[in-house]
């Protein structure tokens, strides 16, 4: 139900086979889940080339660690998404460390006509808050998200969808760091009560 591609049970079976080193299983898993994971990565690291690297790293991690996936404790898509998000957040650190060395190449014409505009132009419209609202509708957690103040919703959405740190959220919203930290802390506490309950009821 939650993810459009395949039921979680199928993904769990695929992950079990990946854990045994089945190459066709990782191919099927990639086909089924890479669009969702790539989208999540792109939100956090919008540089297409880096995001493609992160997607590869994600599946290398999956290939190596699928044996440790515990279907009794984790949903496959949750596990996969977490690996992808972690790699994406780590890539931000590397990217900021690399900016100085990369800058000389920026704007070089060597790619010429091969530059696909969709690679460089950010997708229009959808802000993180809209994504949060869509998620709430899709997954029936509007009552949970609705419990958060507008500021809290914005903080959560900026942190989750764009991978912003406390400091970055603060400067994005032009608010003091302490204020943003306390908004986020209260938001997480509220979500813990509500989402924990929602998840418990569903499972």
């Amino acid at each position: 139900m939650p993810h459009d591609a395949r039921p979680q049970a199928d993904l769990a079976a695929l992950l079990a086979r990946v854990g045994l080193g089945d190459r066709s299983a990782i191919a099927a898993l990639y086909q089924a889940t890479s669009p969702n994971l790539f989208a999540a990565i792109l939100r956090i690291n919008p540089r297409r080339d880096l995001a493609e690297d992160v997607l590869q790293e994600t599946f290398i991690n999956v290939w190596r660690n699928a044996g440790s996936f515990d279907a009794a404790r984790s949903q496959p898509m949750t596990w996969l998404t977490s690996i992808a998000r972690n790699s994406a957040i780590d890539s931000l650190r590397r990217a900021s460390a690399r900016i100085q060395t990369v800058s000389t190449h920026v704007g070089s014409a060597e790619d010429g006509d091969e530059v696909d505009l969709s690679d460089t132009v950010e997708s229009p419209g959808e802000g993180p808050l809209q994504l949060l609202q869509r998620a709430a509708e899709k997954r029936d957690i509007e009552h949970c998200v609705g419990k958060l103040s507008a500021e809290q919703q914005q903080c959560v959405a900026l942190a989750y969808y764009q991978g912003l740190s406390h400091g970055e959220v603060a400067s994005h919203l032009a608010q003091p760091l302490g204020t943003v930290k306390s908004w986020l802390r209260r938001a997480l506490l509220a979500l813990k009560d509500c989402l924990g309950h929602a998840a418990g009821v569903k499972a």
């Binding site: 939650p2 993810h3 591609a5 998000r85 994504l131 979500l191």
Partner: protein, 228 residues
């Protein structure tokens, strides 16, 4: 773990999963996970709680190259047999008699004074084709490498569902599509960089609409190497 520490562990787990725990603190937290099952459990709980948020993101299909490169990194090999453009390598070998099929006039043209003279590449029938067909084209390129006019000399016979697609073949790596070309007349192709990283031009037969994969799928009927 006392209550205060449990509360702290849960808060750190939440910030770790949300992504706001950063820098050295994030790495320290990760290094603790291995030895602390309670911390791991808190992380898993937060991953499950926040997982619904991922549903707000519309999926984005990654480009095909990501899977191709990933296979190389996972299995240390390209799983498919060597693609045709690597097998075309032997074209260097038939420099003698067969070279008449791949006449490159660019060198001659370059030695002649007028610097603005176009570069001409003759694409001959592909000698590596499973069933070679008489298919020859002439490509005239503007010296700045931004315009190419392709004219058929001998066009291959095509069914109603088939079209011809022109490719720029780099010295290594996958060919780039330059688009569909006519079998019955001249086609002009305008691109910013037709010559950069191009070792040869090739024409393949594709289903109508062109190659569905971004790489040549049909037989390569004609090849012409570029020599600058």
């Amino acid at each position: 773990m006392d209550y205060g520490r449990r509360e702290l562990a849960d808060r750190l787990a939440a910030e770790y999963v949300l992504g706001t725990l950063r820098g050295p603190a994030r790495r320290r937290f990760e290094s603790l996970l291995g030895g602390h099952p309670a911390l791991r459990a808190a992380v898993v709980s937060w991953q499950q709680r926040l997982e619904p948020l991922a549903a707000g993101i519309e999926p984005v299909q990654p480009p095909d190259r990501v899977w191709r490169q990933l296979q190389g990194r996972l299995f240390g090999e390209a799983p498919q047999p060597a693609p045709w453009w690597r097998r075309v390598g032997p074209w260097r070998a038939f420099s003698g008699v067969a070279l008449s099929a791949v006449l490159v006039l660019g060198v001659l043209v370059q030695q002649v004074p007028p610097p603005q003279a176009p570069l001409v590449v003759v694409l001959g029938a592909n000698p590596d084709a499973a069933q070679p067909v008489p298919a020859r084209f002439v490509a005239s390129l503007s010296p700045d490498g931004r315009a190419l006019v392709l004219r058929p000399i001998d066009a291959p016979a095509l069914s109603a569902q088939q079209v011809l697609e022109l490719w720029a073949v780099p010295p290594s790596g996958a060919p780039r599509s330059l688009g569909l070309v006519r079998a019955d007349g001249a086609t002009t192709v305008l691109r910013a960089q037709l010559l950069s990283d191009t070792a040869a031009f090739a024409v393949s037969v594709e289903p109508s609409g062109g190659s569905p994969t971004g790489a040549p799928t049909g037989p390569i009927v004609s090849v012409g190497q570029l020599q600058i």
